[in-house]
């Protein structure tokens, strides 16, 4: 959160939250991500249904990194930074793996029949559906995916 140029009183008025979680590229650690999101939800007094949606979006984005960012058998980390103010909750997901922009993935056609529906691609689709903004950049050898949700 950018605090430069603000007076102390302005800073105090705004309720802020900042949390950090680093996980290895191992999907068995996903329950730790759920706990992390639940903790944030409690602190921000988010509604249960909003919390569930955020949990889902974050799981999809983080699993995507765990499964594809690093070559098989190579250990790597994924870092999830949560920043909130009164109106917006933002998650910044970063990894040092292969450059990959998930926002470039084609949209899923949800009108197709079961026979025609491809088995993949639903994860990023859910992220897009749930979050209010999804942006990607590659910077300092890192994939950085930012997911924002308006909370008030």
């Amino acid at each position: 959160m950018e605090m430069n140029g603000r007076t102390d009183s302005e800073f105090k008025e705004e309720k802020c939250l900042k949390r950090l979680l680093t996980l290895p590229n191992d999907i068995s650690t996903i329950p730790q991500l759920s706990e992390f999101i639940e903790g944030i939800g409690e602190e921000l007094c988010l509604e249960m249904s909003v919390l569930m949606s955020l949990n889902l979006a974050l799981e999809e984005a983080v699993v995507n990194v765990m499964e594809y960012a690093y070559p098989p058998d190579v250990q790597g980390d994924v870092t999830i930074e949560a920043i909130a103010n009164e109106t917006q909750l933002k998650f910044i997901i970063s990894d040092s793996g292969t450059p990959f922009d998930p926002t470039k993935k084609e949209a899923v056609d949800t009108t197709l029949s079961a026979e025609e529906r491809p088995i993949g691609g639903l994860g990023i689709h859910l992220v897009r559906e749930i979050m209010d903004s999804v942006t990607y950049e590659y910077k300092d050898c890192k994939n950085i995916l930012s997911l924002s949700k308006n909370i008030k």
Binding site: E59, E60, V108, E115, I119, L126, E129
Partner: protein
């Protein structure tokens, strides 16, 4: 996540309990053999106690649905909660399954 599979008259019922997140779906993938084998019949997913589902869980449903359409069976999803209902809406899964409240 606990998945319990039993036979019913005319097909198989899979009872899903807990959270079907990615690690749970990877495990469940190894347990759905009996459902795929019986995809020519009626497959019921009892979701009364299913709390959460991610895309990997949805893929499991879709895999069985595809097998059923090849073999001429039918997939019914029962008693999903409101949150899972929302996920089904967002992904268009509502159109792919017979969804009912028992």
């Amino acid at each position: 996540m606990i998945i319990e599979i039993k036979e019913h008259d005319g097909g198989m019922t899979a009872i899903l309990n807990g959270r079907l997140d990615t690690p749970a779906a990877v495990k469940a993938q190894q347990e759905i053999g009996p459902l795929l084998e019986n995809a020519d019949k009626e497959i019921i997913f009892d979701c009364s106690n299913l709390e959460y589902i991610s895309s990997s869980g949805l893929r499991l449903f879709l895999t069985i649905r595809k097998e059923a359409s090849v073999k001429g069976g039918k997939v019914i999803i029962e008693n999903i909660n409101d949150e899972i209902r929302k996920v089904f809406m967002m992904t268009g899964f509502f159109n792919l399954f017979e969804i009912r409240n028992a």
